[in-house]
């Protein structure tokens, strides 16, 4: 029998194929719960889960919060504005204090790459990475993969293109690690200034041409372009970005497969990286991603929160 042994979910790079598949399979079972009238199971009753968000986030935090609540865990949500961070406390200190309140899992989002790994080494509670800097956002990667698998029936052998600011994207990195492990062909596409050095070594194809990236793609995952990147001089203007890298229905019809799947981790800049007719069009599975996010996060919480208990499995 497959067994989950990891205390934390830091990223997809450190998971193997079986572990990723196990999360996705477990998520399949959890998806049904959210369709019930009573959207709640008692599985994590009595567990306390802290959502610690040092960066603003609506979607990911709500998704984790609902996932925890649907498993009957108690949640405590802390964001930067209400935390002690501004008083000069280090992240580690803050976390140790939270842990001293006997919590079972900490879901953390932070602007510093590597923080989840650092904390996982020094904390007894489970650490779940909800996005650390430009490093990883594993649950987003997992829910993207779940959605692809649900819609396409498989991941192995698919051509998946990720478009946009690859350099600053933790979503891109988690997707790349996860998809490669499950046998997909991944292409990253964006202006040369937003493609990080030596990314080919992660096993992806690199192109700066959108038509190239759309051609033969089974899935196109469009990343959000942050306005501040333009100010930092990484591309000339949003106008030019939209023209060269914005995904429109016209471009899809011209270059992409008929059954291409369009994904976006949100929040979208409509009219810049994605046109409204694509976001709301028939190719789009963007809202399915959001729905699946809850099932995937329930699966992660279930596996991680149960991973470090003793005794052998008993018959009831």
């Amino acid at each position: 029998m497959k067994v989950w042994t990891k205390k934390d979910l830091v990223g997809l790079e450190v998971l193997n194929k079986d572990e990723i598949e196990m999360i996705l399979e477990t998520a399949t079972s959890f998806k049904e719960i959210s369709t019930r009238q009573v959207k709640k199971v008692p599985t994590l009753r009595g567990k306390t889960i802290v959502l610690f968000f040092f960066e603003p986030s609506t979607r990911t935090r709500s998704s984790f919060d609902l996932a925890a609540k649907r498993l009957s865990a108690d949640t405590l949500s802390i964001s930067t504005s209400t935390s002690a961070i501004k008083k000069g406390e280090t992240v580690k200190d803050t976390m140790k204090n939270i842990e001293a309140m006997q919590v079972d899992a900490i879901i953390i989002r932070h602007s510093a790459s590597g923080i989840a790994q650092t904390l996982s080494n020094c904390m007894g509670s489970s650490i779940i990475n909800a996005g650390d800097g430009c490093h990883e956002h594993p649950t987003q990667g997992l829910l993207d993969m779940f959605t692809i698998k649900e819609k396409k029936g498989k991941i192995k052998g698919l051509n998946i293109s990720i478009i946009g600011d690859i350099t600053h994207s933790r979503v891109a990195r988690s997707n790349i690690w996860g998809l490669k492990k499950l046998g997909a062909h991944v292409t990253v596409c964006g202006p040369r200034t937003l493609i990080p050095r030596d990314i080919e070594k992660m096993g992806v194809n690199v192109t700066t041409s959108l038509p190239q990236a759309l051609k033969n793609a089974d899935v196109v995952n469009i990343l959000r372009i942050q306005m501040e990147r333009q100010k930092a001089g990484l591309f000339p203007s949003l106008r030019e970005y939209a023209m060269r890298y914005g995904v429109s229905k016209e471009k899809l019809e011209k270059y992409a497969k008929d059954d291409v799947l369009i994904m976006h981790p949100g929040p979208m800049n409509r009219g810049i990286e994605i046109t409204p007719d694509v976001a709301d069009g028939s190719f789009s599975v963007i809202l399915d991603q959001v729905t699946n996010g809850i099932a995937v996060r329930m699966a992660v919480l279930y596996l991680v929160c149960q991973s470090h208990t003793e005794d052998a499995e008993q018959e009831l």
Binding site: T90, A112, S113, Q117, T118, G133, C134, R173, R197
Partner: protein, 424 residues
């Protein structure tokens, strides 16, 4: 006060010695080097199976005092130096206040005299307040003991000022020590740019930030004829540039740090802030090029860039941690473990890189063993293995990525000016 170091393998390339000998120290000088020295008045230190070398000279140390005494003081830094076998260290000017006037230089020299352990030779700032605008009063600084000028910690971006600095310092026979970094190119970077920075999601520092400045400064040195010393070389291209410049008669010398010949960017995989250093740890090819540079003499000497930081500063997110690692206590062992053991340098060559060569760069009469020379001597066991623990660090700070590593080569006794300043 007399001391005999008995039966040590004495290594010194200047005096062309490599033999088991006794050394007699009288007062502050070496009085005699011979077999079977007998002197009933003298203390005897049995150095059988040990090596005696000229005391090590470090051109690149951050002693942090004045201004950052919570990281290191002249006293604690001197203790760390003695434990690493260093008898002379040059301290960088990025203190607060900056070493840009006689007052600070005199303070440092008097504090080091008070500590009474080793020779501390200040390096002056190239510009006033290291602001990169006006040249500091280098002649004044030289008069009270400054041995070089440097922009370390605050790289000089203005090429015109660098040119004038080379001309002016050259006139005073002061080497200009360049921290070669284009801060526009490196802005925001926290590690070497490449696959690892992409993987870890950390902002990279391109190698061009270093090599473009090495190239610029070499051209300025060629043009002015002044002595340029390139600090902490980290890129293979820099090694190539320096090699070519030397071949073409440019007055350039160079140093590298123990961590740049021992570690690669792979060490950052755990996001350990102790691996965050500037210039950053680079690729294996860079390490190989640095080793070749050491071997063929392109890189003249080894300097530690000992950069202490308090635990509270380092034990934070990688992005937020300051650059730097301590290096005095581990330098010899890293040299033996990673250069001598791997056949890159002979023990004699390593001693040259750590004592005689750096002395020549700053024009001091040290770094060799000979009758009449200063009795600055380091005795070490080249075979002893030891595990690096916090307890081994005399530095106030413990920010070393080598904690937990087992290294070979350990300092047993350090003598500075005829006085035992460290012994195990």
């Amino acid at each position: 006060m007399k001391l005999i170091i008995k039966n040590a393998r004495v290594i010194d390339s200047k005096s062309k010695i490599d033999d088991v000998l006794d050394i007699l120290i009288e007062g502050k000088k070496i009085a005699k080097i011979d077999k079977n020295i007998k002197d009933n008045d003298a203390d005897v230190f049995d150095a059988r199976n040990l090596v005696a070398s000229a005391g090590f000279v470090d051109l690149h140390v951050h002693l942090r005092e004045p201004g950052f005494e919570y990281k290191e003081t002249i006293l604690s830094g001197s203790r760390a130096a003695t434990a690493g076998g260093f008898t002379t260290v040059c301290c960088m000017p990025n203190t607060n206040p900056v070493i840009d006037n006689q007052g600070v230089v005199e303070f440092i020299i008097s504090a080091s005299k008070k500590a009474g352990l080793i020779n501390v030779l200040p390096i002056g700032a190239i510009t006033k307040g290291s602001q990169g605008v006006e040249l500091s009063e280098m002649s004044d600084l030289k008069d009270v003991g400054v041995v070089a000028v440097s922009d370390d910690g605050k790289p000089l971006s203005n090429a015109a000022i660098m040119r004038r600095a080379l001309e002016y310092a050259g006139m005073l026979k002061l080497p200009v020590i360049a921290h070669s970094e284009d801060t526009d190119l490196s802005a925001g970077g926290v590690m070497h740019e490449g696959y690892m920075s992409t993987k870890l999601g950390l902002k990279g520092i391109t190698r061009v930030a270093e090599t473009s400045m090495v190239s610029r400064d070499i051209e300025l040195a060629r043009y002015t004829g002044s002595h340029l010393h390139i600090a902490h070389v980290s890129c293979r291209e820099s090694v190539h540039l320096i090699r070519d410049a030397k071949k073409n008669g440019v007055n350039v010398s160079a140093e590298c740090t123990p961590h740049h010949f021992s570690l690669t960017v792979e060490s950052l995989v755990t996001y350990d802030p102790n691996t965050k250093v500037n210039p950053p740890l680079r690729d294996i090819d860079d390490v190989k090029a640095i080793c070749e540079g050491l071997k063929d003499g392109t890189i003249d000497c080894i300097a530690t860039d000992h950069a202490p930081h308090a635990e509270s500063e380092k034990d934070v997110e990688f992005d937020a941690a300051p650059f730097g690692m301590i290096g005095l206590e581990t330098a010899l062992a890293l040299g033996i473990s990673n250069l001598v053991e791997k056949g890159i340098l002979t023990l004699t060559q390593l001693m040259d890189k750590m004592s005689y060569n750096p002395s020549k760069i700053i024009n001091i009469n040290k770094g060799y063993i000979a009758v009449g020379a200063d009795a600055d001597i380091t005795v070490f066991d080249p075979k002893q293995k030891w595990e690096v623990t916090e307890g081994d660090f005399y530095s106030k700070s413990k920010n070393s990525p080598f904690l937990g590593n087992t290294l070979k080569g350990r300092v047993i006794l350090t003598i500075c000016g005829g006085k035992k300043v460290f012994s195990i």
